[in-house]
Structure formats: C-alpha cells, structure tokens
Amino acid sequence: MVLLIATGISLALIMVTVNRAIGDQLTQIKANVGTDVTVRPAGSGGQGFFVGGAQGQPQLLSATDVTKVAKLPHVSAVTQTLQEFSVTTNLQPAARRFAGGQGGGQFFRQQAPPTTTNSGGGTFIPTTGTDAAGPLQLVGGGSASVSQGQGFSAQQSNANVALIGQQLATQNGLKVGSTFQLQGATIRVLGIYSSQTLFGDNGIYLPLATAQRLFQVPDQISLLTAQVDSADNVNGVATAIRSTLGTNTVDVTSSTDVFDRISGSLTSAQHSSRLALIAALVASVAVILFATALVTRQRVREIGILKAVGAAGWQVGLQFGVETLVVAVVAALVGALVTFPTAQTVANDLISSAEAAGPTFGGPVGGSGATRAGFRVGAAAGRALGAVHVAVTPTVFLYAAGLALGLALLASIVPAWRVSQVRPAEVLRYE
C-alpha cells in the first residue's frame, strides 16, 4: 500500500515540481526581457538607415515621432539611437570577415575579400549614436562597459568623441586619446569598451547629436526605445505607438512579443507539464483510491467485528483514517524522496520535446525579421531558456507538501468514510 500511494504521490509531486520550475523560469525570462518597446521605421529591419530606404532615402524617425511617443501614457522614458553599419573611415574592421558585404544583414554569409570597404564604398563598422546612459547596448545583443578611459559626459553630447571596441582598437593601434577619421571628421577616442565578442568589439559609439551631425541627419534616429512603467502596460503602449505613428510608418516590437517568441519552448513545456500534472493528479487519486479500497476490502471483516462488539461507525472510521493517514504520510515522504532527483530529468525531457516540436527562439541577426532589440533581450533570455533548474525552493516545497498532504488526506478520508458506512450484518453474513 505504501508503495502504491508513494507512486501516486510521487507522480503528482514530480509534475508539480517541474511545472513550478518552468513557471519560475518563465518569470525570470520575462524579467530579463524587461518592459521595453522598440520602434523603428517600417521595413528598416534593423539595418543601417542608409541601406533599406526607398530610392536610397534614409529611413528614420523624426524628433516629432520621439515627442509623440514620450508623451504617451505609461511611457516612463525614451532612449534614442542612430545606427549605421557602413561608414567612411580610415579604420580597418576588427576582422577580415567583416570587411566585405553590403550591410549588417549580410556579414555572415560570404567569404569576405581582404578590403576595408564594401561595395557601397563604406567600411563595415557598426556605428551607433546613443543618448542612453549606463552600459552600452551592443548591436548583436548583450551589453558592454567601458574598460579603459571614460564614458560620455553631459558636456560631450555633441563633441567629436567616441567609444570604440577593444578588437577595433587593437586592429588599428588605437588607445584612449588617439584620433581617427569618421565621416570626414577627426574623432578622439574617449574610452575603450570590451564585450568579449568579436562582433561586439568591432563597433564605434558616439554621442547621439554627434552621430546625427556626422551622418547629416539632424534630429533623426533609426531606433527609439520606450521604457514602459509596468510589464502589464507593455502591450497597451505598443498598440498606442502603432496607433499614434501609424503601422505603415513604424515597426513596433514589444518585450512581450519577444518574450512570446523566445519563450515558446518553455511555454509549450509548461503547457505539457500542466497537462501532465492534471493527468498525474488523476492517476494519483485513482491509485490511492484503488490502494485504500483494496485495504478496506481486505479488512472489511475486521470492520464488521469491531462494529459488532460495540464500536461506533465514526470510531472505526477514525481508526482506519488515522492508520491510512500515517501510511500516506510515510508514502508521501517516500514519494518526495523519489520525486526531486527525477524531476530534473522530466523537466529536461519536456523541454527537449517542446523544442523538437518547433523552434521558436530567436530570429535572423541584424537582418529583416526579428529586431536587434529582440535579439538583444532574446540572447539574455535564451541563456536562461537553456537551463531549467528544478530546485526544491521553499515555495516548491510548500506546493509539494500541500499536494502530498491533500492526497494523504484523500487517502485517509475516503476509506474512513467507506468504513463508517459498512453494515456489520452484510460483512459477517457470509462466513
């Protein structure tokens, strides 16, 4: 009986533990994704603003667009970014493979010729103008901090200064205080950042106004990021931006969209685990009822005797209930001991199954489709996606304990009730 009930309880405990672990992981991913809504010109697809426009016209957002978005309810702040990948410069890209191609969306796909200029006449060095404070948001995802020199100060908002990637600096022998040519201007290296990635370190960061001046697009940007005051308002703000700026004018990507895209496997696994939890609960209840019914049946004569010698129905029921409860609690402990080492394997299997059913994470890098902002948060969240750790946290323990206690009570109440209903004449009739 202990084994049967333990099996039933462990089935349910495994699934509740796995379900909880996946739920926690999704919450963590959601927290990583944040509350950003990114806005970019329609069809720009995350490429440099000179690349994707009709008739060669740049695709940019205006200062008016920025103002409109900043005034929307629940938008707590906006950051502006101007990005270009093909620039006129005397610098060499950090690696030969970045030297060819026509834009950021193509740098992965061919053997690059040993040249510093692309077919459009520029050099492939991702260059970003930004007004964002804090760590640099990298084009390919992730962030970086200044490792040498310093970041931009408020007084340098339109100065010819830059932060350059470590690899780019090494390739070109640049140090803090060195100068280089960009778009016909002499730029001083204010700081050097390191991202630990070759692609990330092949970049230049400028103050936003400096970038707008050098690229001759005053008051215009290629990417606007709106910070929303709460995760609950992200979808509402995204809809409001589409409505305000027009769906033909801008592409809007919310962190919720990104979350849905990158968390597909986990969400699918969570749905599977939820179904499995329900199935496990049903199976547990069935197993427990079967086990207790079996025991009650085996002891039905004893029940009849007890009643015949003067025991009340509730007394016999209580005795059987307590006995079964003790057995069920022991079984729950056995079940828990079995559960927790097994739960990780079950979680891994569920996620593997969900991933095999259809890839849902990520998107093309730097090209059309997913935005780079999506990739950025996706990269962070994706690292979390790959590792669902089933840990016995206090919350999980409380869930498991509550479930085990509920099943143990069920295992004791049902036979107790059944025993109290036994008529002694019926069970003692056939001797």
Binding site: V309, G310, A312, E431
Partner: protein
C-alpha cells in the same frame, strides 16, 4: 463471569410480526417473515433450521446488526426496531454479545486484546478492563500462558472460548451465538455448549442458531424456522 443474574420467566425478548425483506435479483427475499415470539430471561433458546431458513438473519435483528423492515422487536426493554445512530451502537455495546461460527477474532490481536476490545468502547478504567478480561478468560478455561497468543496459534475450541469471553465482556443480558459448534469437533462442541449453559446459569439469555438437533434438544426453548417463518416451537412464553 461472577455475575449472579437470577433466571426468571420474565420475557426478555418480545417480537411481534417481525420481518426482514430485501430485494435480490428482481425478487423480494423474505429472510424473516412475520414472526412473533416471547423469550424468557436466563434460558437457552435454540433456533433450529436448515441453511437459508432465516435463523442467522433473526439473530442479526436481535443483535441490531441489521434492521427489520417490519414489525416490533423489544429486547430487555429496548425497542430495537426503532434504534438509530448512537443508540444502536450503545445497544450492541451493552445489551448483546456475539459468538460466531468462525470465531471472528481479530487475527492481529492476542487472546487478551480480543477480550479487551469491547471494553475499550466503554468508560471502564484500563486496569479494570484488563482484570476483567483475565478473569473472563480464566472462566472459559484459557490460562495465563495463552493470554498473549494470537488466534492463529490457538485451537478452534480455544478460539471459541476466547470469543465467548469477548461476548460477555460488557456483561450483556443476551448472548447471540450463530452456529457456535459448527467448526468444532463433537467433544469440543460439547464443552462450548456447557460454557453457554453456564452463561444461562448466571442469568443471561443465550440464543443459539443451529442446525444441530442435539444442541436444540438441550435448550429450554426451541424454534424451528423454515423460509423465514417459525414452523415449530417448543417451550417459550
């Protein structure tokens, strides 16, 4: 069994048109069908009949293990047919004791524990319970060396003695014995019947359901049942 209840002709059981009918396979089985009788206190009463004649059902009605579907049944001043819930339990606890054909001892319990069992549902102090249980077991011939034995290690006769001690543990007015010698050899059966007679001498009414005419012959009152009805009667009030 130090009780010195005096035997008398006062009726301890009054049955009037007592019936127990129940449905079975689309038909109504009349296990006990419109029987009426009066039984004297302190006597041995035999209910004789073949298997299925209704004698065990009648015992169950007398012991409130089952409820009649019709008629009146008064046992030692208690209207048994009207008993429900706690009063029904109290009646079984105080007024009647059972002796079964297959002894029906709890196999996990010792002889002593089996006799203690009915007393656990009373207010008697544990020490007094044990003293009484030992005394009852001695009275039926179970010595101290057997008190800790479980039923499986006792002979059939010893088990039935333990069962008789258990039946009188709460000092009931009536002992109901259903085929108490059917599973015993004749010699052992004889001793069990002698024990039941001793209960009568102490003022208890012993009602024995049996198909053995030899036991019936020893009873002061005898009913013969057939198809749920009393077809013959000797003695009684």
């Amino acid at each position: 069994m130090s009780d010195s209840r005096s035997a008398s002709v006062e009726p301890v059981v009054l049955a009037d048109s007592l019936a127990k009918h129940f449905p079975s396979g689309g038909e109504v089985v009349k296990a006990v069908d419109d029987v009426s009788f009066r039984l004297p206190r302190g006597k041995m009463i035999a209910i004789l009949g073949a298997s299925g004649s209704g004698k065990s059902t009648l015992l169950n009605l007398l012991g409130a293990l089952d409820r009649p579907t019709g008629g009146q049944l008064l046992v030692d001043g208690v209207a048994v047919n009207a008993l429900r819930g706690g009063r029904e339990v109290a009646y079984r606890r105080r007024k009647v004791g059972f002796v079964f054909q297959t002894f029906n001892l709890i196999p996990q319990m010792s002889a002593l524990e089996n006799v203690l069992l009915p007393m656990e549902f009373t207010d008697l102090a544990p020490r007094e319970q044990e003293e009484r249980a030992r005394q009852l077991l001695r009275a039926v011939g179970i010595g101290n060396e057997r008190l800790a034995h479980r039923p499986a290690t006792l002979s059939g006769g010893q088990q039935q003695r333990v069962a008789i001690a258990r039946a009188v543990a709460n000092d009931p007015a009536i002992v109901l014995a259903d085929e108490p010698t059917a599973n015993l050899d004749s010699k052992t059966g004889r001793k069990i019947v002698e024990l039941l007679h001793k209960l009568c001498e102490q003022g208890r009414t012993v009602i024995v359901a049996t198909h053995d005419p030899a036991i019936a012959k020893e009873a002061e009152v005898m009913f013969e049942m057939e198809d749920g009805q009393i077809v013959d009667q000797r003695g009684g009030l």
